[in-house]
């Protein structure tokens, strides 16, 4: 046996992984959000809390991230992520909730409270009481602000929430808000229990009433149809309307249309009409006698069985007389049209073709919320139950109060033409939370791996470039050395060979110029200018160009015009030779873009430039 004490049932809050939430808050980078470059940017928690408190105070309907994007301060990665998580949670939850716009708007503002709590406490921001209260919101799906007394209760709660969260911000304690969420959840639970009770009672009452309505209307329709176009003795009309109709109603109510009581009652109605109308029965005299003889007994018997009492002699007398009159040869009884009787019955023949929806149809539509558009107004109604006897929907306000009935067929038609729309299926807050944390935790883990790879690659590249830079410097040093040796050799040669002195001096001067040019080219940095003196080697007539890039390993230099365009490449050696040959000159680079830009950066930081 386990020695552990019994655990309270795990709430949804426990299902949220603390580590995952922390990882999301501390390390995820969502595109285009205002993160600082460095993850260890130091910002104070109380500044963040004060800012969230201010947004809450304003009851702003804007996203946290949109608001902080407009602030001038720098926020930590954790704070920007707390804002993003709060925004995403509330927006996704409320979009899928189907709540009335007003309710969604009021709830959405709790994003500021969440953004504060997430920064401060991580996943502990989702306290049990907060989750229970938010999950319990499903109960209020049908809420709309104009729905009277029942709407007032939630409206009051929303007002209380504003006060409680304001208190929490002021006292810097989430307990104020948590206590409120606890009370709110308890209230929801009480309301739910009460609603269930109301709904049970309502269903019993309305099912009984629907049964009665069905029996009454169906009996009227059946009798009305049986009498259609007939002519009967007055006593027949009277008996059928006043006695047999109530009997059929009762039979239908108690035993349904397939019950034996109703079958007998209906059969006798048909025989009565046959007997009463000479147009039907005069041609079959033998049968007429036979039926007439048995009729009284059968009427008595069926009456006794269904109505549970004897048919009074008085009632029987009138119809008996009329039947005997009908059975006489050369009967001359007075006949009446059934029209007056039919109009008194006031039947609706549609009840005879009542189509009861299938269980599948009912399952797919009942127990859901709908938005009904009527006379330019919207109302939320709850399809509480389908009354099978009448194929009617029993609409309620979701708290057990009847709003009315509607034929299922009419409901279907109105749905097709968009007058009735189902509210979308809503997802509980804790489910939305779990999904979002899972998605973002996976993305955060991936980003972390990507960043490690990127950092390693950048470091390796930096190392390679640094080596190239050193190699280049070494190469240049060696080159200068070679050139020096060459000049010395030429000098010696000139002294030794007096004849070739002029040529050697010329060569020496060239070598000197090359050496100077090499130094100049080596010293050229991006932003430095050259001027192309020889028009024959100009590109599209461009005279002055500045160095944009030098690729040390390939000894290549890329020059551009003053706008950074019209690239022209030179090999370093080519440039050196052209400078030595005075086809190109390195301009005195009085402007160093580094210096001037640093100056501008300083001024921009100082607020002189807005860009």
């Amino acid at each position: 046996m386990s020695l552990k004490p019994p655990q309270p049932p795990a709430s949804q809050a426990k299902a949220i992984d603390y580590g995952e939430t922390e990882q999301v808050l501390n390390s995820i980078r969502v595109p285009d959000l205002p993160y600082p470059v460095s993850g260890d940017c130091d910002t104070q928690a109380d500044v963040w809390r004060a800012l969230m408190a201010q947004f809450w105070q304003q009851q702003s309907d804007v996203r946290v991230n949109d608001l902080i994007g407009a602030e001038s301060g720098v926020f930590s990665v954790r704070q920007v992520n707390a804002a993003y998580l709060a925004d995403r949670l509330m927006d996704v939850f409320l979009t899928s909730s189907g709540f009335h716009l007003e309710l969604a708007r009021r709830l959405a503002r709790t994003r500021f409270y969440l953004a504060w709590q997430l920064d401060e406490k991580g996943s502990a921001a989702f306290s049990d009481s907060l989750l229970a209260a938010f999950d319990g919101l499903q109960y209020w799906r049908g809420w709309s602000p104009g729905a009277g007394r029942s709407a007032r209760m939630l409206a009051d709660q929303l007002d209380d929430m504003t006060v409680a969260i304001t208190e929490a911000f002021a006292q810097q304690k989430s307990a104020n808000a948590d206590d409120f969420f606890q009370r709110w959840n308890e209230l929801t639970q009480r309301q739910k229990a009460q609603t269930n009770h109301f709904h049970d009672r309502l269903l019993t009452t309305e099912q009984g009433a629907a049964r009665q309505r069905y029996a009454d209307q169906t009996a009227r329709a059946l009798v009305s149809r049986a009498l259609q176009g007939r002519r009967l003795p007055a006593a027949f009309n009277d008996f059928i309307e006043k006695h047999w109709l109530p009997l059929l109603t009762r039979a239908l109510r108690d035993g349904g249309i397939d019950g034996s009581d109703f079958r007998h009652g209906r059969k006798l109605l048909e025989w009565l009409v046959w007997l009463g109308d000479p147009a039907l029965s005069d041609g079959q005299r033998d049968r007429l006698y036979q039926v007439g003889e048995q009729m009284t007994d059968r009427l008595l018997e069926v009456w006794q069985r269904i109505m549970d009492l004897a048919l009074s002699a008085n009632t029987l007398y009138g119809i008996q007389l009329a039947m005997m009159e009908r059975m006489r040869d050369n009967s001359n009884c007075e006949l009446h049209s059934t029209d007056a009787c039919i109009s008194a019955i006031a039947a609706d023949l549609r009840w005879l073709s009542l189509k009861v929806p299938s269980a599948t149809e009912i399952n797919a539509t009942s127990g859901r919320w709908y938005e009904i558009h009527q006379d330019n107004a919207e109302q939320r109604r709850y399809f509480f139950a389908l009354l099978p006897d009448t194929a009617e929907i029993l609409w309620t306000n979701g708290t057990g109060v009847k709003l009315g009935f509607q034929d299922f067929s009419e409901f279907c038609t109105q749905r097709e033409c968009g007058l009735i729309k189902p509210l979308q299926d809503s997802v509980a807050f804790s489910c939305v939370l779990k999904q979002i944390i899972a998605v973002l935790a996976a993305a955060a883990a991936q980003q972390k791996r990507d960043r490690a790879t990127a950092a390693a690659a950048a470091n390796a590249r930096a190392e390679a470039l640094r080596r190239e830079r050193q190699q280049r410097e070494e190469q240049h040093r060696q080159q200068l050395e070679v050139r020096k040796v060459e000049v010395e050799r030429l000098q010696l040669q000139a002294e030794n060979q007096r004849l070739a002195k002029a040529k050697a001096q010329e060569e020496m001067a060239w070598q000197q110029r090359l050496r100077t040019a090499e130094k100049q080219v080596f010293g050229l940095k991006p932003g430095h200018w050259i001027v192309i003196l020889d028009s024959a080697i100009r590109d599209a007539g461009v005279e002055r160009m500045k160095l944009a890039m030098r690729l040390s390993t390939r000894h290549k230099m890329v020059f551009v015009d003053r706008l950074g365009l019209n690239q022209r490449e030179f090999q370093e050696q080519e440039l050196v030779e052209r400078i030595a040959a005075e086809q190109i000159r390195v301009l005195d680079s009085g402007v160093n873009f580094d210096d001037t830009l640093s100056d501008v950066v300083g001024r921009i930081r100082g607020g002189h430039y807005s860009g």
């Binding site: 944009a548 890039m549 690729l551």
Partner: protein, 143 residues
């Protein structure tokens, strides 16, 4: 704000609006770019220099926002300011692409709120490309 429809994290690599393949760190930094330089300019006027907020960074480049369009293909000197209190980086940027930032993607008739530009950091000698790479590596590790 980006990710208004909260698709981030749902599909890997669903958002890759430019040509950089390496990981991009979403972060706010500042870039000052020099649109036009002359060999004897002592003073830089407003039109020639533009301060642009940086949207994201990678070793090989960055994406920045600019109020006006930037010339695609241009090699421009720039100073990047990453973290307060730390040195700036003097680099050469190549403007690889520049697109209008549309507030309303569905309606092209709405004027753009600005321009987004993808810039390549040129690994040129004579710039602080090495220091830049090291700073980016550090930022990636400390993110």
């Amino acid at each position: 704000m980006a990710d208004k429809d909260y698709t981030f994290g749902l599909a890997i690599n669903a958002r890759a609006p430019d040509n950089r393949f390496d990981y991009r760190l979403s972060a706010r930094a500042k870039a000052v770019i020099h649109l036009e330089t002359g060999e004897s300019v002592q003073y830089i006027d407003r039109q020639q220099v533009r301060a642009c907020p940086v949207r994201d960074l990678s070793a090989s480049g960055l994406r920045l926002w600019s109020a006006c369009s930037l010339p695609v293909g241009a090699f421009l000197p720039a100073v990047i300011h990453l973290v307060e209190g730390q040195p700036d980086y003097h680099l050469m940027l190549e403007i690889v692409w520049c697109k209008p930032e549309q507030a309303d993607l569905a309606d092209a008739s709405v004027p753009p709120t600005g321009y987004l530009a993808g810039c390549r950091v040129l690994e040129s000698g004579g710039t602080e490309a090495v220091e830049w790479l090291e700073a980016i590596a550090m930022a990636m590790l400390k993110a």
